[in-house]
């Protein structure tokens, strides 16, 4: 029982990472019906940006020589901002020209896949294969709740994921830009007729999705401080699957799906040989999709012909 509860805490932390990435997948899909396969690598870019920012700000012989607390508080908003720029750049350079030409969705998805590879291998070419280690930005404290150990960082990660989710949910359901995002997903043609610039809505979506992935990348790098160019690939794929199981296009689905995947993974690894982890985890997800192909929150889509 104790071990189970301890694993639940771990699952909540892993789920937070998956959820933060899955939210971006689902946002972009919801608005553009595009599976942005470069999204996992945006997460990686976020982790690297946090590495470069924090080492620059901390460097004792550098310009700044900031304290760790100050570095942390400055790095978080800057990572979100800079990572969202990368996402917006992708949209500008890769997706928008295709959209303008009315390219079939398949070509856009393949473009996204290629963008991801460009980010991974660009990173490899620029920075080399050596792994980087994020400096410690926060003193580690361990709290004991009964016999369950929780670090302060874990609590922050989980708290951030929930906070991001609630803010995002509010934006999408209650604000006018959120309304516009939902409207685009239904009917892109009519949006300019309301005087709404379609491109701005799309850019806003990429800002949100990439910014959140950047934040996830930073939190991930703080928790597991080893960075390598392919760190976003597998995690990204898994988060994408989590978003689909939750019902892609619905942010509640991405959130729940992320935690579900982490829960299954951690529990399999905890109570079975850990080599079975992915096999079991994905078999279970396969079973869920088999029962409910649209995911938990997904609605069957009717495509207009």
């Amino acid at each position: 029982m104790e071990q189970f509860l301890q694993q639940c805490v771990n699952a909540l932390q892993w789920g937070s990472f998956y959820a933060l990435i899955a939210l971006g997948y689902t946002l972009v899909y919801g608005v553009l019906r595009l599976i942005n396969f470069a999204h996992g690598d945006i997460f990686m870019v976020g982790a690297y940006i946090s590495f470069f920012l924090s080492t620059t700000l901390l460097a004792p012989d550098g310009w700044f020589d900031f304290s760790r607390e100050l570095t942390l508080t400055l790095t978080i908003p800057l990572v979100v901002l800079l990572t969202s720029f990368v996402g917006v750049a992708l949209e500008r350079i890769a997706y928008r020209p295709l959209r303008r030409k009315g390219a079939h969705r398949l070509y856009v998805v393949i473009t996204a896949l290629m963008c991801g590879l460009v980010l991974e291998n660009g990173n490899l070419a620029l920075l080399g294969a050596s792994r980087r280690t994020l400096p410690q930005l926060m003193d580690k404290e361990v709290y004991m709740i009964g016999s369950i150990a929780v670090t302060n960082l874990k609590l922050w990660v989980i708290l951030t994921a929930f906070l991001v989710f609630f803010i995002l949910h509010f934006v999408v359901t209650r604000t006018r830009i959120g309304m516009a995002m939902r409207a685009v997903s239904w009917d892109r043609f009519a949006l300019p007729l309301m005087g709404i610039p379609l491109d701005s809505v799309i850019v806003f979506t990429f800002v949100l999705g990439s910014g959140i992935a950047g934040l996830g990348g930073m939190l991930f790098a703080m928790s597991y401080p080893v960075l390598e160019p392919y760190m976003g690939a597998m995690t990204g794929w898994k988060a994408f699957i989590a978003a689909v199981v939750g019902g892609i296009g619905d942010i509640r689905g991405a959130f729940v799906g992320g935690f579900l995947l982490a829960f299954v993974e951690i529990m399999v690894a905890a109570f079975l040989p850990s080599t079975f982890r992915d096999l079991f985890a994905f078999s279970i997800l396969l079973l869920i999709l088999w029962i409910k192909p649209t995911g938990f929150f997904g609605m069957p889509q009717t495509t207009k012909i």
């Binding site: 516009a180 409207a183 009917d187 043609f189 309301m194």
Partner: protein, 239 residues
């Protein structure tokens, strides 16, 4: 006020308009009539400066609004700056939003003001929408959806309203109601350009009309003349 000269428009390499000219004055109701594929919808999409692939590219001629060419403008700016908008064919309401949300969203260009007063005005015009305010709009009937499409367009505070086949798929009674409402809006100062396949109905409310045939304007004039013309044609050809 709106002046189209020798307008050519194409989808990719296929030319859909071969140089049409017409004009619309403030306060008028003008109708474009013609058979399927004559280029009526294409004309409206070109006027709205909507982008390919759904809409055509202008390849020649000019569209001028109060004397200034609008060819360099983007669709959302046509709505925002010129106060002209379109109720598209097939309505294109946002089916996943409620009636209220559809109307609120359409007040986008006036972000600072609360849209409540304007929404009340729309509800006075179309009381049926008030009853359905909190409903997802894809659950509305065809007539109600058309009311919402018109109401949504009016929420942009447009002074020129383009309508593409507003009678399509409507029961006759609802159709007459819709045209009566359009007439009333016109008497309050709204300029209307309406595209119709139902030529008779359109000419009964319009001041002037143009007849389009395969991308060219083949006739134009006051509604009464065109109506007579059509009736003569129908009498001889059994249309």
């Amino acid at each position: 006020m709106l002046c189209v000269t020798a307008l050519k428009a194409a989808y990719g390499k296929i030319e859909a308009l071969h140089g049409i000219s017409f004009h619309v004055e403030r306060g008028e109701i003008v109708t474009l009539i013609g058979a399927n594929g004559a280029g009526k919808s294409t004309t409206l999409k070109a006027l709205m400066r909507l982008t390919p692939p759904e809409s055509p590219t202008v390849t020649g001629g000019d569209i001028a609004f109060e004397g200034k060419s609008i060819l360099g403008m983007e669709g959302h700016n046509v709505v925002d700056k010129l106060k002209m908008t379109l109720v598209p064919e097939g309505r294109h309401i946002f089916g996943n939003l409620t009636v209220m949300e559809n109307l609120t969203l359409a007040a986008w260009t006036r972000r600072r003001e609360s849209p409540r007063k304007d929404i009340e005005h729309i509800f006075e015009l179309f009381p049926r929408l008030a009853e359905r305010a909190r409903q997802r709009s894809n659950t509305l009937s065809g007539g109600e959806q058309q009311m919402l499409a018109v109401g949504r367009a009016l929420m942009t505070k447009c002074s020129v309203l383009l309508l593409d086949e507003p009678s399509m798929g409507l029961a006759p009674l609802i159709m007459y109601d819709m045209f009566r409402t359009l007439k009333q809006l016109n008497s309050e100062g709204l300029t209307i350009v309406v595209v119709e396949q139902n030529a008779k109905l359109a000419l009964q409310v319009a001041d002037r009309g143009y007849v389009l045939d395969t991308g060219e304007i083949v006739a134009g004039g006051y509604s009464a003349e065109l109506l007579q013309h059509l009736e003569i044609k129908a009498a001889y050809l059994g249309g």
